[in-house]
């Protein structure tokens, strides 16, 4: 597999949300608007890239039996860095996502890539894998957030284009499941025909 494929697989072919169905908690929880989805996606992408790089760099030194706790510590450190930085410089976004940022630690996507990819590949491939997967995740969250925002609020990225309320159920929790379900169907269909 060349590096380009390694990068692009995260978008459609192995998209973490639509195909691997990983990281469902933030996916369903924060995607009430496209902007929230994008912010959460980028935060996760950063953690994913950095943790993949570090895990790939230190994998030789870590004894097998303690590899999971070691990965968790590495991931948790990056998540805390993101949390503090966001709180300091992007307080508005942090106010929206606050609760979900620490939960990136337990996002199975991040640990999943560390375990399944970074611990078996070199630093460059791991960084590219992290970037592809992370941006794929961000793409999926933005798409889902956008769909919910359009249907639920008649707006996109906060810009209202329809007066009134829209179908509120899409902004509420059940709408997350509905929108995600239909998006998965559409992506499946696309993958079959492509």
């Amino acid at each position: 597999m060349n590096q380009l494929q390694n990068f692009t697989k995260g978008f459609i072919k192995e998209n973490p949300v639509f195909v691997l169905i990983l990281g469902m908690c933030p996916t369903l929880g924060v995607t009430t608007s496209a902007l929230n989805g994008l912010g959460m996606g980028l935060a996760t992408a950063f953690v994913l890239i950095m943790s993949n790089i570090v895990v790939a760099a230190v994998k030789g030194f870590i004894p097998d039996k303690v590899r999971i706790p070691s990965f968790i510590v590495i991931i948790a450190s990056f998540v805390t860095i993101v949390e503090l930085t966001m709180q300091a410089y992007l307080p508005d976004l942090f106010a929206q996502l606050g609760l979900f940022i620490p939960l990136i630690v337990v996002n199975c996507l991040v640990l999943g890539r560390a375990e399944a990819f970074a611990s078996k590949n070199n630093i460059l491939s791991s960084a590219i894998d992290g970037a592809g997967m992370g941006l794929g995740f961000a793409f999926a969250l933005t798409l889902l957030g956008g769909v919910r925002e359009i249907l639920g609020g008649g707006a996109i990225f906060g810009n209202k284009f329809i007066e009134g309320d829209g179908m509120l159920v899409f902004v509420l929790a059940p709408g997350a499941f509905l929108a995600l379900g239909y998006l998965i169907v559409i992506i499946k269909k696309l993958r079959k025909t492509a």
Partner: protein, 192 residues
């Protein structure tokens, strides 16, 4: 490169080194972001104070004091123009929101009239309860210029004077509860 064996001493060393390095890095990041976090919190609070009371010349953040009411306390930020008090910004809260805690900054004129209200923090449902935010609907405007002495702080359904947000009676009730708490505190010795 050969994989490190999973012996006790190796595992111990690995975990100690990894946690040690992580803790050190986080310590530095914490130190570096502590200042900006304080500043951004302060800025937000000051913006809220400025929004709810008439123009002032002092620094209300430095003259704040707490007043106890019904098992909790609210924080007062007196706004002064020279030596004369022009209003009180009261940071109040309620736990009765649809999703729990709601924090408001309520601005009173010295006679107890509500000048303006800003929402500091809430987790209400987007599209329903979040209409309590000024940018999303006119709900909060109806309080402006009203004195709770004559303006009953509960929704019309409960016999009050407040028009609730459509389909968000719980959020509206909670909002009234928070404003009432601020008013009670003001009357109970918040004035200075």
């Amino acid at each position: 490169m050969a994989k490190t064996e999973s012996t006790f001493i190796n595992m111990l060393l690995t975990l100690v080194i990894i946690t040690g390095v992580s803790a050190t890095i986080l310590g530095f990041v914490y130190e570096a972001t502590k200042g900006p976090i304080e500043v951004s919190k302060m800025k937000k609070k000051n913006a809220a104070i400025e929004a709810v009371v008439p123009a002032f010349t002092n620094n209300p953040g430095q003259e704040s004091y707490d007043v106890e009411v019904e098992g909790g306390k609210v924080t007062f930020y007196p706004a002064k123009n020279g030596d004369e008090i022009v209003g009180y910004a009261v940071e109040t809260y309620t736990m009765k929101g649809f999703a729990g805690l709601i924090k408001l900054m309520v601005g009173f004129l010295p006679d107890g009239t509500i000048n303006n209200i800003a929402v500091l923090e809430h987790k209400e449902t987007p599209g329903l309860g979040d209409k309590m935010e000024k940018s999303k609907s006119n709900f909060s405007v109806q309080f402006n210029g009203k004195n709770p002495e004559t303006f009953k702080l509960s929704v019309t359904k409960d016999g009050g004077n407040v028009d609730a947000i459509t389909a968000s009676t719980i959020s509206s009730r909670a909002y009234c509860d928070a404003v009432k708490r601020a008013y009670d505190a003001l009357m109970k010795g918040g004035k200075k």
